[in-house]
Every structure is written in structure tokens, then in C-alpha cells.
């Protein structure tokens, strides 16, 4: 399987930040998004995600809810508090299909969420929608 990045496109859009502590899931998301020509950068925990987002604001964040150090809810809250990322769309990934998790995510300003296990196709569709790109 090969990703076929369309460099010009990615430059025009900016990069998607993917934060998940599970390397396989991280790679899965990267593969899918890159196959659609998006530029992707990754973070292994909440702290790294915040640092990256702070130094170079992404166009979209795919955020795992349960992460070490700083969890997804807190990351989302801090992204919203920072003017540079206050408007950046955030898609949450949650392994706990509990309404309370979804509520917590939405309360701190997540735009969308997917319950694990999710379909990579579905994720890509949501990313496109959030970025106002055609599917």
C-alpha cells in the first residue's frame, strides 16, 4: 500500500495533527489521510500535541480521548484557549462509547467524534467535511 501525497495540495491546506498514544492507530490514520493527499504530523501524547500545535498551528486535529500525560479533553480545552488554534476543527476518537465522554468532548469544543473501532473511510470523510474539502 502506498501513499501518494499531493505536495502542492498539502501546502495549500496546511497539516493535520494526529495525536494518539497507540502507534498502530497513529499509522493507520496517517496512511489513510496521506493516501488522500493530506500532510500529517503526529504526536504520541497530549503534551507533544500541544507543543506542536503551539509552535505551528495545524488546520485540523484528530485527537484520541484517552492519552497519557494530558488527555484529549484537556488538549482540546487548551487549543480552544489559544487564539491561534481557537478555530481549528477537532475530531475526537474515543474508545469508551459513553455519552459522558462525548459530552465532555463537545463541552470543551470538539467539532466531531468517532467511536473506536472506527472506519478509516468514515474518518477521512469527516476530515474532508471539517476542512470543507470535497470527499
Amino acid at each position: 500500500m502506498t501513499a501518494d501525497p499531493v505536495v502542492d495540495d498539502a501546502d495549500a491546506v496546511g497539516y493535520v495533527l494526529v495525536a494518539d498514544d497507540d502507534p498502530d492507530i497513529r499509522d493507520l490514520v496517517v496512511l489513510k489521510l496521506e493516501s488522500a493527499g493530506l500532510e500529517v504530523r503526529t504526536a504520541v501524547d497530549g503534551e507533544e500535541a500541544l507543543a506542536l500545535a503551539h509552535s505551528d498551528p495545524p488546520v485540523l486535529v484528530v485527537l484520541d480521548l484517552m492519552m497519557p500525560k494530558v488527555d484529549g479533553v484537556e488538549v482540546c480545552r487548551r487549543l480552544r484557549a489559544n487564539p491561534a488554534t481557537a478555530q481549528t476543527p477537532v475530531i475526537m476518537l474515543t474508545a469508551l462509547a459513553q455519552p459522558s465522554d462525548v459530552e465532555r468532548g463537545v463541552a470543551v469544543g470538539a467539532d466531531d467524534y468517532l467511536v473506536k473501532p472506527f472506519s478509516p473511510r468514515e474518518l477521512l470523510a469527516r476530515v474532508h467535511r471539517a476542512l470543507d474539502l470535497p470527499d
Partner: protein, 698 residues
């Protein structure tokens, strides 16, 4: 006061004097009689209020004990707690009957008592009894109900109602007490006016003999004024004309009687009030140490002794001091000490162990019952007077309350002994409660911890399983999107996908079940229209019916009342049952869902609506039917037919229906089909579907 000069009398004057005196005597007599009668009447009102306070306490103790016994029985399963529950329930019921009788014509009190009764019954008969019954058939389910907050909530509602009654009763008691003083004052005033009228009658006649009448009357009047002020001590000199003397004597007798009655009543009221205050405070502290220290403190204050020690008794042997309170001039013997006490105290206390009555020693220096060395030991400790009372928890002698007076003898009064006995009895009740309460707290705490641990565990497991599944499902999907995959490889990927879905269903079911069983009161009970519930479930099942040659019949008759339940959970029940029915029915078969009109439930408490899901599928062998609702059980016919399932669907169904206070039953024959029926109680206070469309809506 007018004073007249004595002059010789005449016949006519004597006649007038007689008329005047009689007038005074009659009016004064009527007044005194009125005073005594009103005092007696207020005494009755006060007795009634006292009776209510006692009955209110009985109800509270009864329900509190029943609550503790329920928890104890459900947790431990000891039949003794069942007896405890029954007798506590009887006690509460008796108290409620007495309360109702005593409330009499007061409508506000009657309402309060009625509310208290309703709350007590909701707890005792609506919750505690069913829980006990449930415990006897299904211990785990019984315990789950106790761990949830339902019982606590109902008990708390009762307690609030009981507190409202107590407040009303106490205010009535205060009114009754005040009215004793008030009536005495008012009657006194009436008497004074009446007597003054007599004096004025005599004075107006300007009779020389009036002085003979007036002087004693003057005295009578003075006495009456003081009586009117609540001072019942004055006595009238009874000289003067016979008639006047008679009035004075009558008044003296009346005042003496009033005096006696009032002091008796006051001491009784004070004593009862004290016992009640102490015992109420005691009951509020359900902690053994606090109970004992509090009782010791209250007794030192109430009886006026130098020291009150509470000693443990085990197997009729005195143990160490566990609680103690001292007055201003005494030092504590020290808790934990046993050596401090006279060596012969066991012997002294022996009769008390045997007969269970208080031991009273007015003077340890001269009491002939004491051995010389015991007397000496008391003398070393400067203990001159001693009053000991046994404390029983249920039937076990568990402690001694020991009141001590230092340096001087004390002639203990019957009231002293009575108060100590009463407080000791209340201590016993409080200690029994405290024991039960501690046991309950420990047990419930353990169960809660266990439950929380399980809940956390399941959530974690769910998360830990979902994460690898995400990778499996995600990569499989991406592989299948790849055009390089051969048809054989695609088939293999389908197998991986199907098994991933199966694993995911299992995780979801486990998580659902765990949540249902650990947080039963997260359910929202609303009045629900049956038709939309059924419609939602049928819509959800359509995707799996489509493409199968299966008839799906749904029958919901008109006029089915709303049921009380959680819409999401009841939809899940219907969906689980319909999914099973479709899954186990071969093509050409039929699945039906039939709702029937309400009928009385087995317990006869609420009417129930019955839902029946039937299929013409493979059926379940009879010997397996009673295991259908246990976790991970899968019928042999399902396994033989290689139909997948988690073995949790029906467990979830039963769990949800149990929470709804309904029942589930199964009827099935292999090869013919299966019918699973469940009931849900109708919503009691809401109307029927259709007849009140304005309120409709789930």
C-alpha cells in the same frame, strides 16, 4: 383594700351579712372549682402531646430498626434479622396507629401523620419487603437493590416526614405546657374578680359586720392574686365568720391539691422530656463511642453526680471502662482501666448480672451488703454512693452504667433510678442500632468497592480491547480497498471482519451489562407510550429482516396504558429479543411482537403490560430454559446451528426488566419456536395513550 369598723349587729344586718357571705362563697367556690377543672383539662392536653411524642419516637425507632434489619438480612442472610425486621415493622405500625389516634381533631397533625404513614409504608412495604423476598430467591439481585440508592432515598423521605411530625408534636407539647401556666393565671384572675365582686357586694351594704367578712376575704384575695401569679404556696388563715372560713378552707385545699398536682406533673414532664432529649440525641449518634460518652455526659448533668463510667461486660465479667464523664470536682478513672476499680466490684455487680435490675448503694461506708475489703476499696477511691444499671443490646448484657458520688452519701431517689434505667435502656437500643449500622456500613462499603472495582475493570477492559480492534478493523478495511487483493484474500479478510464485529458485540454487551448491574438507578423512569417504543425497535430490526424471507407481525392494541420505564433501555430489550427471534428463525418462518392490555401482576401491586416476542425458529430444549438468563450460556440448538451470539443478550434483557420491576418468562419447544414474554408495570399516575393526547410524548 377597704377597711370597715366593727359595730353592733342587728337581725337585718345579720341577714344581709349572710346573703353577702353566701354570694362570696358561691362565686369563689365556682371559681376554685373552675381552676381545678381547667388545670386537669390542660393536664389531659399535655398527656396527649406527651403520648404523641412517645408514639412518634416509636415510629422512628421502628422504621430505623427495620431499615438496618433489611440491609443486614440482605447482606448476611441471617433469619434473625428477618424477625428483627418483622418486630420493628410491627413497632412502627403500632406507633403510627397511636399517632393517628392521638392526632385526634387536629387536621394539620392528621395530615402530617398521614404523610409519615405513607412514607413509612412506601419504605417498609414498597421497598423493604420486596427486597427481602427478592433476597430469598436471588441473593445477588437483592444485594444489588440494597447497594443502589432506592432504599436510602425512601428511608430519607420517611425520615423527613417523621421529622416534620416531631416538630409539630413538640410545638403542641410546648403549647400544652404553656397553657398550664396560662390557664392557672387566667383562672386566678377570674377568681380574683369574683372575690372582689363579693367584697364589693358586702361593702356596698355598708354593713358594720362587713369587716368580719372583708378581712378574711382580703386575705383570700391576696392568696388568690399570688395563685394567679403561679405561686401555689400561700395559705389563708381560716378564722372569721364560719362561712368565710369555709371559703378559706376550700381554697386552701384547692391550692394544696393544685400545688401537689403541679409539682408532680412538672417532675414527670421534666423527666420524660429529659429522657426523650437524651435518647433522641443518642439515636442521632450511631457511633458506639459517641453514644456511650454522650450518655455518660447526660447522666452526670441530669442526675447531678460526680462521675459516670460505662464498663464493658463480657460473659458476666466486668471489663474495662469504655466511656466516662466527670463533673467539675472529680477526676476520671480513665478509660481502658480495669485495675482502678475496686477488686470486689464483680461480686457487688453480681446480682445485677442475674436479675438485670439497677444496683443502688446510698453509702458505701455503711452498706451491709459490701465486704469490708470492697468497702475499703471504695473508700480509697472516695466513692461514697453508687448507682449501677445494666445495658442490654437485644438480650445480651453488654455494659454497666455506673454513677458515682464522691465523699458524701447520696440517698438515691426513685426518679434517679428511673432515669438511669431509662437511659440505660435507650443506650442499649442505640448500641444495637450502632452495631447494625456499623455492620451495614462495612458491608455496603465493601459491596460498593467491589462494584466500583468491577466497573473500572470492565471500562478498562473495554478500552484495552477496543484499541487493538481499531487497528484490526481499520487495516482490514484499507486492505479491502486495495485493488491488489485477490478474491481468496478478500474472503479471508471477510472472516477477520466478521470475527472482529463479533468481538466488538461481546465487549459492548459486557459493558452494557456492567453498567446496568452497577448503576441501576441511572435508569430514568418516565411514563412511556408503548407504540413509539415498539416502532423504534421494529425500525432498528428492519435492516436484518430485509433480505430474509421472514414475516414480521406487530400487534399493539388500542388503549394500552403508558408504562413506567427508561425508553432507551426498553427499546434495547425489544431489539435484543427481536434480533434473537430473527437470528434463530429460518427463512419462511414468522416473528411476531404482541403487546397485550394490562392485567394484575403476580404480586398484585401494579397492573402490568405484557410484551411477547415469538418466533417459529429452532427452539430451546426444555432442560436448558432455566439457564437461558445466565451469562455466556448458549443453547445447544444455537451452537448446533452455528448461529453466533455473545450469550449476554438475554442476561441484559433480564437485568433491564428486573430494574423495571417486571418479569421475564420463556416458553419454547425445539423445532417449533420460542416465545419470550416480559412485563412492565403501567405508569400509575399518568393517563392512557390516546385518551389524553395533550400529554403524550415519550
Amino acid at each position: 383594700m377597704p377597711r370597715a369598723v366593727a359595730t353592733p349587729t342587728s337581725f337585718a344586718a345579720t341577714q344581709r351579712r349572710l346573703i353577702g357571705t353566701v354570694a362570696v362563697a358561691v362565686t369563689a367556690g365556682v371559681g376554685v372549682l373552675g381552676l381545678v377543672l381547667t388545670a386537669r383539662a390542660t393536664g389531659v392536653a399535655e398527656d396527649r402531646a406527651d403520648g404523641m411524642a412517645v408514639a412518634a419516637d416509636e415510629v422512628s425507632i421502628g422504621v430505623a430498626t427495620a431499615e438496618a434489619a433489611t440491609v443486614a438480612y440482605v447482606v448476611v442472610g441471617d433469619p434473625a434479622d428477618l424477625d428483627g425486621f418483622n418486630s420493628a415493622r410491627d413497632r412502627a405500625t403500632r406507633g403510627l396507629d397511636e399517632l393517628r389516634a392521638a392526632a385526634g381533631g387536629s387536621s394539620s397533625l392528621r395530615n402530617l401523620v398521614g404523610d409519615e404513614r405513607a412514607k413509612a409504608e412506601a419504605f417498609l412495604d414498597g421497598y423493604a419487603r420486596p427486597v427481602i423476598t427478592l433476597r430469598s430467591t436471588d441473593p445477588a439481585a437483592g444485594q444489588a437493590r440494597v447497594v443502589g440508592g432506592e432504599g436510602r432515598r425512601l428511608y430519607e423521605q420517611f425520615r423527613q416526614a417523621a421529622a416534620a411530625t416531631v416538630v409539630a408534636v413538640e410545638s403542641e407539647r410546648r403549647d400544652a405546657k404553656q397553657s398550664v401556666g396560662l390557664t392557672a393565671a387566667v383562672s386566678g384572675l377570674v377568681l380574683v374578680l369574683v372575690a372582689a365582686a363579693g367584697i364589693v357586694i358586702g361593702w356596698r351594704r355598708r354593713d358594720p359586720s362587713v369587716a368580719a367578712v372583708v378581712e378574711p376575704l382580703d386575705e383570700v384575695h391576696g392568696a388568690l392574686v399570688r395563685v394567679g401569679e403561679g405561686d401555689f404556696s400561700p395559705r389563708v388563715t381560716t378564722d372569721g365568720p364560719d362561712e368565710v372560713a369555709a371559703v378559706g378552707e376550700a381554697l386552701n385545699t384547692a391550692v394544696a391539691e393544685m400545688d401537689r398536682l403541679t409539682s408532680l406533673q412538672r417532675s414527670r414532664v421534666e423527666r420524660e422530656q429529659m429522657i426523650r432529649d437524651v435518647s433522641r440525641t443518642i439515636r442521632e449518634y450511631l457511633d458506639v463511642e459517641a453514644v456511650l460518652n454522650l450518655a455518660a455526659r447526660e447522666l452526670v448533668g441530669a442526675i447531678g453526680v460526680d462521675r459516670c463510667s460505662v464498663l464493658v461486660v463480657e460473659h458476666n465479667t466486668l471489663g474495662p471502662i469504655v466511656a466516662e464523664w466527670v463533673g467539675a470536682f472529680a477526676r476520671p478513672l480513665g478509660t481502658g482501666s480495669r485495675e482502678q476499680l475496686p477488686a470486689g466490684l464483680d461480686l457487688v455487680a453480681q446480682p445485677l448480672f442475674e436479675v438485670g435490675r439497677p444496683l443502688v448503694i446510698d453509702d458505701t461506708a455503711s452498706d451491709a451488703r459490701l465486704e469490708p475489703e470492697v468497702r475499703e476499696a471504695f473508700s480509697d477511691l472516695r466513692i461514697r454512693a453508687l448507682l449501677m444499671a445494666p445495658v442490654y443490646a437485644t438480650d445480651d448484657l453488654i455494659a454497666l452504667v455506673c454513677l458515682q458520688v464522691l465523699n458524701r452519701p447520696r440517698p438515691w431517689s426513685a426518679t434517679d433510678v428511673g432515669v438511669v434505667e431509662s437511659v440505660a435502656r435507650e443506650m442499649g437500643v442505640a448500641l444495637s442500632h450502632a452495631r447494625l449500622f456499623e455492620r451495614e456500613r462495612d458491608m455496603v462499603g465493601q459491596l460498593r468497592q467491589l462494584d466500583e472495582a468491577k466497573d473500572d475493570f470492565v471500562s478498562t477492559v473495554s478500552h484495552e480491547l477496543r484499541t487493538p480492534l481499531t487497528s484490526i478493523v481499520g487495516y482490514v478495511e484499507m486492505l479491502r480497498d486495495d485493488e491488489a487483493v485477490t478474491p481468496t484474500q478478500d474472503q479471508m479478510l471477510t472472516v477477520i471482519e466478521r470475527n472482529s464485529d463479533r468481538l466488538l458485540a461481546l465487549i459492548d454487551d459486557l459493558l452494557t451489562l456492567s453498567k446496568l448491574q452497577s448503576g441501576p438507578f441511572e435508569l430514568r423512569f418516565d411514563p412511556l407510550d408503548v407504540a413509539p417504543l415498539v416502532q423504534t425497535a421494529v425500525q432498528s430490526i428492519e435492516p436484518i429482516v430485509t433480505g430474509r424471507a421472514i414475516d414480521l407481525d406487530v400487534v399493539v392494541p388500542d388503549g394500552v396504558p403508558r408504562v413506567a420505564g427508561d425508553a432507551g433501555q426498553l427499546e434495547r430489550v425489544l431489539l435484543n429479543l427481536l434480533t434473537n427471534a430473527v437470528k434463530f428463525t429460518p427463512d419462511g418462518g414468522r416473528v411476531s411482537l404482541a403487546v397485550s392490555r394490562p392485567q394484575p401482576s403476580e404480586s398484585g401491586v401494579d397492573d402490568v403490560v405484557t410484551f411477547a416476542v415469538s418466533d417459529t425458529g429452532i427452539g430451546i430444549p426444555e432442560e436448558e430454559q432455566d439457564r437461558l438468563f445466565t451469562r455466556f450460556f448458549r443453547s445447544s440448538s444455537a451452537q448446533a446451528a452455528a448461529i453466533q451470539g455473545t450469550g449476554l443478550g438475554l442476561v441484559i434483557v433480564k437485568s433491564i426488566i428486573d430494574r423495571h420491576h417486571g418479569s421475564v418468562s420463556v416458553a419454547s419447544a425445539p423445532g417449533e419456536g420460542t416465545t419470550i414474554e416480559f412485563t412492565v408495570p403501567v405508569a400509575q399516575h399518568w393517563g392512557r395513550t390516546g385518551s389524553d393526547v395533550g400529554e403524550a410524548g415519550v
